[in-house]
């Protein structure tokens, strides 16, 4: 026993002395690391103290000082709420759809952009697809409303004109206010807003692929599809897996801004997600305990999914994974 403790201490001392040596050697690099560490401590770890609200009967007026401990009572209350159950199911559905459609899009887009040989046109396309990422969801809602509303919206007007001109009977509806169409609008607007931005990492990875591989493949008679299948995609594999792990880890983030801006009473039954539910009960009704419990539950699922996906990725390919 004594021996083991000595060994541990020795190992601990060894690690500390190695760290001290490394710091002395790369002092400036460690100084550059400092702001990042401070950021995480101040903005990510320190606020975790607030998690205790999820286990206490917190009142915004009395604050932390008078907060009876209730254990898992808040969670029990949360899980029995029909609105939370609905939000949880919607959350999974919307996230799954976003991964299904949204994850491959930047990869496809990057490969397509990479094939553009005219440099000016390539830059133009790249900038055009990235720009929507910087538009607020509330502005996008304004654009969608202008497109979809039945009084003056562009799409209904076009459809009405087609019906009038060709005698067709295309149903003219507000796509934002129909349960049947809202999810499509949600996913399409998500793809439009985020796909371009997602190409940045993939384009950087594609640029790093050794061009000699393509030249050799061409000499061997490989066409574009063969090059894509045997060179580009395998070279992107570790990048794809890493980003997939991050994406699966954030599966519970179904997009608060987008849904908060786009949803309405007609579609809330399919659009309400945990984040919008948390906002409503936390910020509007001031039930911070319930909101914290919901947020914590969401984060725990995210953590489990990150670790699970990482484990699977490492099983499939030992070089993949994030840790």
């Amino acid at each position: 026993m004594v021996k083991q403790r000595d060994l541990r201490n020795a190992s601990g001392r060894g690690y500390l002395s190695k760290l001290a040596r490394d710091i002395r050697m790369d002092f400036l690099l460690y100084v550059m690391l400092l702001p990042g560490i401070i950021y995480f401590v101040v903005f990510k770890y320190a606020p975790m103290y607030g998690i205790i609200i999820g286990f206490s009967d917190y009142n915004i007026v009395s604050g932390f000082s008078d907060m009876p401990w209730v254990g898992f009572g808040i969670f029990e209350d949360l899980f029995t709420k029909a609105a939370f159950q609905r939000a949880f199911i919607n959350n999974i559905k919307i996230s799954f759809l976003k991964i299904l459609w949204g994850f491959p899009m930047p990869i496809i887009l990057s490969i397509l952009i990479n094939e553009v040989k005219n440099l000016f046109y390539k830059k133009f396309v790249q900038t055009t697809v990235i720009l929507p990422h910087f538009i607020s969801w509330f502005v996008i809602y304004g654009m969608l409303y202008a497109l979809c509303n039945l009084s003056t919206g562009a799409i209904p007007e076009i459809l009405k004109s087609i019906n009038a001109a060709f005698g067709t009977d295309i149903e003219v509806v507000n796509y934002l206010a129909q349960k049947e169409t809202f999810m499509t609008v949600l996913i399409l607007s998500y793809l439009w807003q985020s796909s371009g931005y997602g190409t940045i990492v993939y384009l950087a990875a594609i640029t790093g692929i050794d061009q000699q591989l393509y030249e050799a493949a061409m000499i061997d008679g490989a066409g574009k599809m063969r090059q894509l299948w045997h060179i580009t995609l395998p070279s992107l594999r570790s990048t794809i897996i890493t980003l997939l792990i991050f994406r699966v880890g954030s599966i519970m983030n179904a997009g608060f801004d987008q849904i908060f801006a786009l949803s309405n009473s007609l579609v809330i039954s399919i659009a309400d997600i945990i984040d919008t539910y948390v906002y409503r009960i936390g910020m509007e009704e001031a039930k911070f305990s319930l909101a914290t419990a919901a947020g914590l539950f969401k984060s725990l699922i995210g953590l489990v999914l990150v670790l699970g996906t990482n484990w699977i990725a490492k099983k499939v390919d030992p070089d993949s994974g994030i840790m």
Binding site: V61, L150, A177, I268, A286
Partner: protein, 498 residues
């Protein structure tokens, strides 16, 4: 020469320093948070004038009405309350009991003489927030405009119909306003009915026609106080709206349009019948907001619709406005460094004629001028005739209701049509069992229950399924999500306090 110049410069410098220190006024700062939906510049003429008149540095956090409670909850949780703010319900009582707001009765005599003069003996104690003694809050007693259903007379003339008085006639007019080319432009581009889920008043009269106070409480036959969605005739009102929706008479964007967009439909002549208080529609918006030609007297353009209730035979008008009278209170936080200045501000802006005129109408001689002050006749001057410019410069922003006295600037300056239609609507108002929002169940479930009510209404209007079955599901959900508990508490409160 050099020495003389140096001495002169030093003297000038010293004098300048002396002057700046002698004349620089150190103003006390007060911070206030208020709700409103005007687009106003952070620094504007009215605010500057107000600061000069009160010799205060006034910092206003102007929050859109929909976000006010969210912002306030955040500030309470962070313990960074502004000096003056409005608060209602259990939160107000919790703040009082926790000592976060002050009893400002000691300051009233010296700094709030107009406040004291404005209330009758014992009136302030009736406010829920002052029920335990002291004066913790002041209420706005004059912001009680009632909702009218305004109808355009020129459209009625164009379609050859009279002001509707029954539900059937209402439908007939709405139908004609949709398909009868009421604006005479030869296009099918108008609607008979426009309402927005973001604006409760826009639904009032259609529900009132069925004896239902929209978004309020009702009493069932067994004496239970509950939500309006459980009114025995709720489905009749829904069926009426469904008919309007399915036939294309009702603007189908009711669930997605904002309050402002519903206003715009009225302003640009896309709809000829609209639920809003006449003081807003026929005075504040008139004529600047309307894009079509308007006669000088709004009474020549508008009439008021009042539907005869089939059960009672009485006309059903706007809902009796209660809430602002008893629930919302302006309070002063315990962290306020200068409570005397806060009282001085409230006293001047909300309780004096001069302060009300400034914050409601703007700066006299610059933004407006009186034509006949005795009778409340005024006109806005130059660019301030435009509503948007007028409000951007700070008028109608800090005191949209015209003051908290019973007879305030807003009421004093009603035009003849607004005055008559508001008074007349009172005779036809639809009363309901008013329950304060201080009940525990309201605090616990209120917002969620309101969301369910909106969701139910929206989906019942558009559904193509079994309306009665879906309605039963929504009612069951409303009850299970806290509604039953809320009902029990409301009924108990009503039986004890009516």
């Amino acid at each position: 020469m050099k020495r003389t110049m140096s001495l002169t410069l030093a003297l000038v410098l010293a004098l300048a320093m002396f002057a700046s220190s002698a004349f620089a006024e150190e103003r006390n700062t007060i911070t206030l948070m208020m709700a409103g939906d005007n687009t106003v510049a952070d620094t504007n003429m009215v605010l500057e004038e107000l600061e000069n008149r009160l010799n205060l540095d006034i910092q206003v956090n102007y929050i859109s009405s929909g976000d006010y409670s969210t912002k306030l909850n955040t500030l309470i949780a962070a313990d960074t309350l502004p000096d003056i703010f409005n608060v209602a319900g259990q939160t107000a009582l919790d703040l009082r009991d926790a000592g976060k707001i002050i009893d400002f009765s000691p300051y009233l005599e010296e700094y709030g003489p107009d406040i004291l003069a404005s209330y009758e003996e014992g009136e302030l104690e009736k406010l829920i927030i002052n029920s335990k003694g002291g004066v913790y809050g002041l209420n706005n007693r004059a912001g009680l405009s009632i909702v009218n259903m305004l109808i355009r007379k020129d459209w009625l003339a164009n379609v050859g119909l009279d002001v509707p008085e029954t539900v059937d006639e209402l439908y007939e007019v709405m139908n004609a306003f949709t398909f009868g080319d009421p604006d005479g432009n030869g296009e099918n581009d108008t609607y008979g009915f426009v309402a927005s889920l973001a604006a409760d008043p826009t639904w009032q009269h259609v529900f009132s026609a069925f004896g239902i106070p929209y978004a309020k409480t009702v009493m069932l036959e067994d004496g239970t106080i509950t939500s309006f969605i459980k009114h025995k005739d709720f489905l009749d009102a829904v069926e009426f709206l469904r008919k309007l929706y399915q036939e294309g008479i009702m603007d189908p964007d009711f669930a997605t349009m904002t309050q402002m967009e519903s206003f715009e439909r009225f302003w640009i002549g896309k709809v000829g019948m609209f639920n809003w208080n006449s003081a807003g529609a026929a005075r504040n918006w008139y004529p600047g907001r309307y894009t079509f030609e308007t006669p000088e007297d709004p009474g020549d353009l508008f009439a008021c619709v009042r539907i005869i209730d089939e059960d009672t035979g009485l006309p059903s008008g706007g809902i009796t406005p209660y809430a602002s009278q008893t629930e919302y209170a302006a309070v002063i936080s315990a962290t306020c460094a200068h409570p005397e200045d806060a009282i001085r501000f409230i006293n001047y802006v909300y309780y004096t004629e001069e302060g009300q005129d400034l914050t409601c109408l703007g700066i006299e001689g610059v933004m407006y001028q009186w034509i006949d002050k005795e009778n409340g006749l005024y006109e806005r001057i130059g660019e301030y005739a435009d509503d948007v410019t007028h409000r951007a410069a700070g008028a109608f922003v800090y005191n949209g209701n015209g003051g908290w006295t019973v007879d305030n600037t807003s009421i004093r300056t009603y035009n003849a049509f607004a005055k008559a239609s508001q008074l007349e609507e009172r005779e036809y108002q639809l009363d309901y069992p008013f329950i304060p929002v201080t009940l525990d169940a309201y605090t616990e479930y209120g917002t969620q229950l309101r969301e369910i009510e909106k969701e139910a209404l929206a989906n019942l209007i558009v559904t193509t399924g079994d309306v009665e079955a879906e309605y039963a599901e929504y009612v069951a959900r409303w009850e299970s999500e806290g509604g039953s508990e809320y009902e029990a508490q409301m009924t108990e409160w009503w039986n004890e306090n009516r």
